[in-house]
């Protein structure tokens, strides 16, 4: 597999480390439901078959965190963006 890092260009997959679902937002730790919101945030994943937005880290390269659109069924890679620029 190959990923195109927005800074470094196309690179072999081995340069990157996978983390997981990028659509989750860290809950408000002071909210009343913080305990259950954090439990969901830490443990629950939708794990869809199909398009998935996920975090990858360019560990052997520029060390940027990336948001990658990947199809979990076909491995087709769509858009790749720097996470720092990709805030909702």
């Amino acid at each position: 597999m190959r990923l195109t890092c927005p800074f470094c260009g196309p690179r072999d997959l081995r340069e990157f480390t996978y983390r997981g679902d990028a659509t989750l937002r860290r809950p408000d730790p002071d909210a009343a439901n913080a305990a259950s919101a954090f439990a969901d945030y830490v443990y629950l994943r939708a794990n869809p078959r199909g398009p998935h937005r996920e975090h990858w880290y360019h560990a052997a390269g520029c060390r940027a965190w990336l948001v990658v659109e990947r199809d979990t069924a076909t491995h087709a890679i769509g858009r790749v963006a720097l996470a720092r620029n990709d805030q909702p």
Binding site: F7, G9, R11, R14, E15, A60, G61, C62, L82, R84
Partner: protein
């Protein structure tokens, strides 16, 4: 087949390794100041450039290495609050590679498109599993910054991979 840098087998000729014992600075731009700092460093489009013997290399969004004799105080004044500067002269061992089909040697350890590397290009990547920064300011010479602790392993790999005439590094 003509000489292209695409040789399938290591080329004859000594791979010349020159250690560059120079100052190295890491410049990290403040949030939102990356483009300004890049311009101040003379790197608008290219990822690597050499000005007055000093190399500037972009290694990450908002991060640059500067190699060579540069007045750190003057640079700090110029960049001001826009960037942090760290001394990194021991973090890497810097080398220049010439001759010996260095592109073929590089292609044996680096998964990037070596054939297309041209002056102005830079890449932070791994060679045979060792983290390096590489760049070109001249089409016939490869500049490398090898993470210091890996240097011996890197040299061993280079010796084994170089063509039949070997390398002349220490």
């Amino acid at each position: 087949m003509l000489e292209t840098g695409l040789e399938t087998a290591p080329k004859a000729g000594l791979l010349h390794v020159e250690i560059r014992d120079e100052a190295i600075l890491l410049v990290m731009a403040a949030a939102n100041a990356a483009q300004i700092v890049a311009a101040q460093l003379g790197l608008r489009v290219a990822r690597a450039s050499r000005i007055d013997g000093v190399d500037r290399v972009a290694i990450a969004p908002g991060k640059w290495l500067i190699l060579g004799g540069i007045d750190q105080t003057a640079l700090a004044r110029q960049l001001g609050e826009g960037a942090s500067i760290l001394d990194m002269d021991s973090a890497y061992v810097c080398l220049s590679l010439t001759g010996g089909g260095w592109r073929r040697v590089l292609a044996s350890g680096a998964a990037i498109d070596v054939e297309r590397l041209a002056p102005g290009d830079a890449a932070v990547t791994a060679i045979a599993g060792i983290n390096v920064v590489l760049w070109l300011t001249d089409a016939d010479r490869l500049e490398l910054a090898v993470t210091r602790s890996y240097y011996r392993s890197f040299l061993a790999w280079l010796k084994e991979t170089a063509g039949p005439d070997g390398i002349d590094a220490t």
